[in-house]
Symmetry: C2
Subunit: 237 residues, 2 copies
DNA sequence: CAGTGGTCTAGACCACGAG
DNA sequence: TCGTGGTCTAGACCACTGG
């Protein structure tokens, strides 16, 4: 780090972070130990304190460091690591995998909210919202089956949309920015409807994704996505 | 934003980010539109450019903005949002839920790598690694069943460990910091062993977590975790 | 109460890439 | 080519919180 990397475009903060990470991984600094403070490191690395700060913040965000005012910076004892999943538009995901995309709306109704869905949305059960069921296909084979509830009251200033023909997934992503979102993964045995929609057998284990979004008005939409058998949701780092 | 928030400890960069987010969510700025450049916003918000930069970087990391040199900053058309899951130590997760933790090692062997595991690790099949099977309990009920392979060669400078008695999950977290990790969620029907370990029935849908870590030497460990039926992995935002 | 990280600022130079 | 974001710096003040 004393030598300047010739021709490198890597930000100095990243280089410092990498060097600190190396000292941790190669056990020069052990879990629980306190490391030099920002000013010392700034001198060592020939950088401004702000740059060292940025580097250490990166590592703290990764869960590798534990930083506290006055107490200093320590190597985390239990590095709580994080996995980040990107939630792309289904169509892009399918086309990105080199398959052709298809989409079919199986049902659109204005229906009273069942108890469990109302709970997810934080609304009263029995209220009538838009209920939508659709299947996304990749190369003609079912990829995901989504069961979605939409709250039109949370979508002011937009034309009424015919979700029987429009792709709700894409329309919402593009037209309903949200402030808060909730997300959960679980597994479930396919019920008869899941099985029919995904062209598989009842009882088949399915990865279930549940997602709800809110804006300043209230809940926008909640969706339960059943993925085709064998689907893997992956994250790097 | 012109008025200074009296007594607020919220960083100015966060306030700016919140205001920009509001303009997006309330459709003052529409998807695809270009927003004022950093210098203009700095003037409007009475902040330094670096502060505005930090705020906009936050939103870009969220996937809400699309920033490019020379081209400026635009509201993302397809906001690819992210969900972040924290991977805690199992014991802390269980105790954090108010349950008592239990742990039992069901088997420890030095075995030749099966084809599929070797592939995950990027090693040659047939090589002999440490193979470990263990169950984590919450209030006496099975919580997770883990099937783990450990590469001792990637753990130099540490005493040999008796994983028959030590909790591998915790020992590795604390003693084997890694440089890269891989992670995937999927669903599977419980096979006979899964069912026995988790005290449930074969065929039951289980959430499967698969995780592999590497350091500068090579693969450290790979684990397949089968969660008890009904388990939900949640993320906020 | 004093040491440490958290944040902001004004200014600067540079890299990228759209036009 | 040149406007825009990316990054760094030196310096400053402040907010925590451990001792």
């Amino acid at each position: 780090m004393t030598e300047r990397q010739a021709g490198s475009t890597t930000p100095k903060a990243h280089l410092i972070a990498a060097e600190v990470r190396r000292r941790i991984v190669e056990r020069e600094w052990l879990q629980g130990e306190r490391i030099p403070d920002e000013v010392e490191l700034a001198v060592e690395f020939g950088a401004a304190r702000a740059t060292v700060n940025k580097a250490l913040q990166l590592l703290a965000d990764e869960g590798l460091l534990d930083r506290r005012r006055r107490a200093g910076t320590r190597i985390a004892i239990n590095p709580v690591r994080k996995a980040t999943f990107e939630i792309p538009i289904v169509r892009e995901q399918i086309e990105g995998a080199g398959m052709s995309y298809g989409h079919r709306v199986m049902a659109v109704h204005r229906s009273p909210l069942p108890e469990d869905v109302a709970l997810r949305l934080g609304m009263a059960a029995g209220q009538r919202l838009l209920h939508l069921r659709a299947v996304h296909y990749g190369d003609g084979r079912p990829f995901q089956y989504e069961d979605r509830w939409i709250n039109p009251a949370a979508l002011p200033g937009t034309e009424p949309v015919d979700f029987g023909h429009v792709n709700a997934n894409e329309w919402l992503v593009r037209n309903a920015p949200y402030l808060r979102a909730d997300m959960a993964f679980s597994a479930a045995n396919a019920d008869r409807r899941d099985a029919r929609m995904l062209q598989t057998d009842p009882g088949q284990a399915l990865l279930i994704l549940q997602r709800t979004t809110w804006n300043e008005i209230g809940a926008i939409t909640t969706v339960r996505v059943a993925c085709h058998p064998g689907y893997r949701m992956t994250a790097a780092n």
